[in-house]
Symmetry: C2
Subunit: 144 residues, 2 copies
């Protein structure tokens, strides 16, 4: 029985770059997550290489997607603990998601306001060689 078979006996064992490809996270980031304790330290082979199984990749992919959805690492920590907690309340997870949605709505609202201002100004600006510019005039004026 080979060494890696002993460690991750039910499935494909792989080293960090394979886990990176499968999870979508760069190797550096995987090590970083281990460093900060976001994931448990990986098993090691005799040569010191980290050894990942599909369950590890599972979690890493989970993290990759959550981060892509704008959850902070702290959010991910909370989500993971709920994820691995067999007694978790789905209400707790929902609350985290709803908070994120509220954040997103606020940001979208702010961006929409800025867009309106900029679009209005850009529309009024003749955009030629002359220095007169309603955009900058607006920045200078209307302040308090």
């Amino acid at each position: 029985m080979r060494d890696e078979a002993r460690r991750n006996y039910c499935d494909d064992a792989m080293n960090i770059s394979q886990a990176a490809v499968r999870s979508g996270l760069p190797p550096k980031t995987i090590r970083y997550y281990e460093d900060i304790g976001l994931v448990d330290p990986a098993l090691r082979r005799d040569n010191g290489y980290r050894d990942y199984g599909s369950r590890d990749v599972h979690l890493l992919r989970f993290l990759h997607r959550a981060r892509n959805l704008g959850f902070t690492v702290a959010d991910c920590r909370a989500l993971l603990s709920l994820y691995t907690d067999r007694k978790r309340r789905s209400a707790d997870v929902k609350e985290i998601a709803l908070n994120r949605i509220a954040d997103i709505d606020r940001k979208i609202g702010e961006l929409g306001e800025m867009r309106t201002v900029l679009a209005t100004l850009a529309d009024k600006c003749h955009g030629d060689e002359r220095p007169d510019c309603p955009i900058l005039d607006e920045f200078a004026a209307g302040q308090e």
Copy 2:
């Protein structure tokens, strides 16, 4: 003629905490912006305190608004340099504004996608005491 009157003779002179209140930026951030050369070094009173006038507050307020709306410090630098350049072409300013509008549209699009995913998941989640949770199920599933 008083000292601060000599420096900011047309209007109210103020120290950094007043400028902070009026611009919305914390004093630390104002000093930081001075440090990195985003704004010119503030005038100093005889006691070494920074001395701000309403024109400075104008600029700081502008920075506050722009940063809040997702413009990077580098963006702000470009906008400010056009703002203070008497020979600028209004076309240059307009181009920056149009680029920012495109950025904003992209960001709004991304946030909208995130929101859709999260809202769908949160909606499906019953959010009660039971551990079943479509949000976590979704994170866990669809792998590979």
